[in-house]
Amino acid sequence: MTLSIEEVERIALLARLSLSEDEKARYARQLSAILDYAAQLAELDVEDIPPTATVLSIHSVMREGDEVREGLSRADALRNAPATDGASFIVQATFGDEE
């Protein structure tokens, strides 16, 4: 199979990645080769085989009741943020501000 540049652009948007024109061409080629390789999986009969959800033989467990204890302080939570006002993360507007 061959991924088109348009498909690569669509995936890059879903993945929130900006790509250069060179990268788009390279990934179109390389992802196509990898997906071709993965195509051998399509030849197997796996109709009745359950997918692996976990390799462990554990089951969901109920957590103990909530318990109040020391967690991450505000200062620690903000310590690595690229932009803060000292109390909150500073982000760009999520909704448009068009008039």
């Binding site: 995936i11 990645l17 900006s18 993965a38 051998q40 999986l41 197997l44 976990t54 462990l56 690595n80």
Partner: protein
Amino acid sequence: MTLTALTIREAREQLRRRHVSSVELTRAFLERIHALNSRLNAYLTITDDEALAMARQADARIQQGEDTPLLGVPIAIKDVLSTHGTRTTAGSNILANYVPTWDATAVARLRAMGAVFLGKLNCDEFAMGSSNENSAFGPVRNPWDETRVPGGSSGGSAAAVAADLCCAALGTDTGGSIRQPAALCGVTGLKNSYGRVSRYGLIAFASSLDTVGALTKDAYDAAIMLHAMEGRDPCDSTSVETTPIDLTQLDSRTTSLVGLRVGVPKEYFIDGMQPDVERAVRAAIAHLEALGAEIREISLPRTQLGLPVYYIIAPAEASANLARFDGVKYGLRVQGTDLIDTYRQTRGAGFGPEVKRRIMLGTYALSAGYYDAYYIRAQKVRTLIKRDFEQAFEQVDVIAAPVSPTTAFPLGAKVDDPLQMYLADVFTLPVSLAGICGISVPCGFDADGLPIGLQIVGPAFAEQRVLEVAHVYQRTTDFHLKKPPVHPS
């Protein structure tokens, strides 16, 4: 006595007898790191002051008579594991200045045991790679031949242990990232069963596959490290309480392997593998037989499917895990024209080529219309791979196989061909997909003097058995004692 060449166990003996202090031992390592790291690039961060402070605390505990298996022993940590107050980059530009505000559970347990942390070790970006060439901070060089790769993704960990830049190192293994570099650098590397060691504080790559483990100078040290880290952690719901490693039992093991059934999977000896690798691994299997083990040929028929299954599942999980790097809470931010553009510019600039490739691949495999055809199908084939091992372990106790089809390859040899690079992990991926355990131990050298690894694989949570076989092998061979020709200039 060369202090930096000591195993954990030997170092503890010297510390216990007060022949050396932890501060002296730590200084010896720091001196060697500063002399060699500009060539090998194994360390990304060297924490001289913190290491010496930890060593002084350890010496005080030793003075009070405490005698525990890691007290005062200098180790180093792969840079995907969070260390409180010490920069943790995951080998990525996007986290180049990230300083965690807590320890990973494995790190916290080692800290509590009194181990000394020398610094953080280079690795492929977000642990994605088989050569360490995907690090944003430059490749690690193999101490056996500095023109060659150390393997990956725990390449800094393997090179640091091989070159005596630490007593032992933490690594992580998602598809072979402990075992393959251990083989290529001639050290011992234990990939634990999924769930045996907490993943809390490990910067996630593929959550159904990621495991934390150690690279060490021998199998006994690997047991010490596992014993210190293992067990249930309330912060990781997939961590499991199991029977702890029994160091006394390991130590009292005779060198007889009578009664042990060793399976040799015919699918692990393929056309195109380096003849020296096959020769050394076959010789190692003959050695186990000479010690009394019964050798049985077995079949793991879905071996070759491990690679395509892995390269759907791992990128799919990675694409979800790495969505958190959005330039808001931590890490790099590149301001764009609007919020979505900021995400795209930040991630486009912050991630390297292999990470972007895998995010793209994983996003594709999870996208509408392809989810069933790729992701669900891969998880079904994964079930078959797991069943192959379950059936094999009805007939044998452990499986012996090569770790990687070749010895260390030259830097740059495979960077432009992802599929060729991925083939370096063809013998380690199935074990990861099945969630079971395996150890890489040195078993010989090729014609160029490069190390070769033997992989000993056991069922889930059978680390004690695998370590006993590796320990017996090392008590009767000396490949793991050979040192690379790397010396301070």
